[in-house]
Subunit: 403 residues, 2 copies
């Protein structure tokens, strides 16, 4: 069977008018003789509204009841979509997670899909039906509804694509695809036609916000091609696929930049095993997200300098935690607000020497000082003054021929 999984996000089904459009999109695949499996999120706003009410019931609302409560959102959206397809003359019906069933394991609010019963759905597809399935949820072995913590409906779609061996998984959302950089920051940003899972993972964690990293990782592990595209515009989107499928001579696929970062440096830290853990454990316990971490080699073997970046909103909390931390000794503590991290990402850099140099040279030519450098196999990140971030983005975008 030529199966395609279509996933529609909350904004794509946000109004009755949009749901009608979604039904048209689904029908277009059906006309191309695909067997179509649809995964839907709740209409945007519905879930948050329910959660808001649950807080009025209790500031410690039961996790199990939370899951049965919010799962009603996808239930409603699926019945609307199926109802519209039936109206248009198609054979369709909603399948709530417990009807499939989609079996989950793990705690309420944070379960993961373990198994999908294919039998009924396969039969229905063979009969020409279009199943509309609730994303973001499943039923556990105690026969109670659970919601999927990370990845949400995207994760549901990828699991369906995996279990049904779908040819493709199409994620319909409110953006047109993945861009070389944030189009709001740089007008010359271009939509990327094809991107590898690995690049997408680096892009996503840097704020591409198109898909949750956990879902991309699931797709990567199961070698599922994902197309991200807009449910509003009839333009092709971005295909997330394995490296060998990509036919591109670009070294760099995308550039990302952050805002509102701050740099924290501990100078003259008494170096001993476990000192980094002693610094970062209390930050982690206080939900402070540490991004870049750079530690210089200790010159005398006794002291070291350690630098890391955090969100500026966490700066005061971080200061306090470090100053109260009795497990570490250091000579000086330096904070710097208004820094920005610029990253270039591309699988091409693995096989192309000199990318690092080109990046640094480009920034030097613009007289932009680099404060911190951090690299991975397919990513180079530098920390610079925030005031230079736009200049850096523009020049790097040009240098690596992304315009």
């Amino acid at each position: 069977m030529k199966i395609v999984v279509l996933k529609f996000g909350g904004t794509s089904v946000g109004t009755i008018q949009k749901i009608k459009k979604v039904a048209d999109i689904i029908a277009s695949y059906k006309r191309k003789n695909y067997k179509v499996i649809v995964i839907s999120s709740a209409m945007s706003g519905v879930t948050n509204n329910l959660i808001k009410k649950s807080y009025q019931i209790s500031d410690n609302f039961s996790d199990a009841e939370h899951d049965i409560l919010v799962s009603s959102g996808e239930q409603m959206a699926c019945s609307f979509i199926a109802g519209r397809l039936i109206h248009k003359g198609y054979k369709s019906r909603s399948w709530i997670s417990w009807q499939v069933p989609i079996i989950t394991v793990g705690p309420y609010k944070n379960a993961r899909i373990n198994q999908i019963n294919k039998k009924e759905i396969i039969k229905y597809l063979r009969e020409g039906g279009i199943p509309i399935i609730t994303g973001f949820q499943g039923v556990n072995y105690e026969n109670r509804i659970t919601t999927i913590g990370r990845g949400g409906s995207d994760a549901s779609a990828i699991m369906f694509a995996k279990f049904f061996k779908a040819q493709r998984c199409v994620i319909y959302t409110d953006v047109e695809g993945v861009y070389t950089t944030d189009p709001n920051k740089l007008k010359k940003a271009k939509k990327i036609k094809e991107i590898s899972y690995e690049e997408m993972l680096e892009m996503a964690s840097l704020g591409a916000k198109v898909m949750q990293p956990v879902s991309i990782q699931d797709a990567r592990l199961n070698r599922i091609d994902i197309e991200v595209r807009s449910s509003y515009k009839k333009k092709s989107g971005t295909l997330i696929t394995k490296k060998s499928n990509i036919n591109s001579n670009k070294i760099i696929t995308g550039i990302s930049s952050t805002q509102n970062d701050s740099k924290v440096s501990l100078i003259g830290v008494r170096d001993r095993p476990g000192v980094a853990a002693a610094i970062f454990k209390p930050l982690s316990l206080n939900s402070i997200n540490v991004d870049m971490v750079v530690q210089n080699i200790s010159a005398n073997g006794k002291e070291t300098d350690l630098t890391f970046t955090i969100k500026t909103e966490d700066l005061n909390k971080t200061k306090k935690i470090i100053q109260l931390n009795k497990k570490i000794n250091f000579r000086k503590l330096i904070f710097e607000k208004n820094v920005s991290k610029i990253s270039i990402i591309g699988v091409g850099m693995i096989t192309t020497p000199g990318v690092t140099f080109r990046m640094f040279q480009t920034l030097a030519n613009k007289r932009i000082n680099i404060k911190v450098i951090s690299t991975s196999e397919i990513k180079i990140s530098v920390l610079i003054d925030k005031k230079n971030s736009q200049k850096a983005l523009t020049s790097l975008h040009k240098e690596f021929e992304l315009n």
Copy 2:
């Protein structure tokens, strides 16, 4: 086990604030060592809002999808109630119809409960838990959600009371109970302490609107005591029970009156078998509700006069249908707007002679002309001019010592 079934209607759970109050009521039964089973409707407005949206999807929205759509309403309400009870320190959880399961038969939108699986609920009650169960719905043998056509959540509550052999079924609603007559029409109307199923059936069909007749009939067949009471006020309500339980010397239990009725008379109808059916079939097909029907004995064996009442809003439609009806012959058609039906109801009249006479005499004393009379074992209805309806109500209420 001392089991009580508590049912909360849509207005009783209409806001988060009201749901908190409902949780308090449930807790009060638990403290009295009852095993409590709760049946909840959807928060008022939720179901209608969903139905309104479904009409925007399609003017012929699928019945099966309608049921899965609106069933989400009870699901949300139950999770809120359970969440609140957990917050208050009680062991509680929501049970969606398919989790119990509550098995239904019959078509979507109009199914009826066939079976309730008691096992899990009994176990949960034994453990001290308070199950909060979705009313108005079940799951059919194809594992799809169905809603109960007539009686709704009341019917669910009565079926639970039946299957679990509950000591009592308490219907919490927005009225304080059943009254001797509509309190909006007569200030001297009094709350009835106890009423028989049969009287309640006559009251309900006459517009008492407290419970649907089908649910009262279910309760009667299963001999389940129902208490109707307000979820806002701590006053005792009305007990609906079997005749022999009622300790009252009243002959008449209640009086009802209608508004907006019209009388239709066909004079000189050619009398032959099937003529009544020929008149009423097209009215029924057009959803026109015929109330009182009186046919005079044909004097010459060839002609008869036939009178019936309808809602005034259906008058023009009725006129047209009768005039176009080629299957009937009559000499004259008479319409009369602005008539009102007054009914006195009471099981006491079966054993008390002269009730009919007392009613007619009371009206005659007030110079109120009776247009049509219709009687059943426990009810006498008369049709009078609408302008006299208040006078009739007041004098009959006094005559039969209901003040």
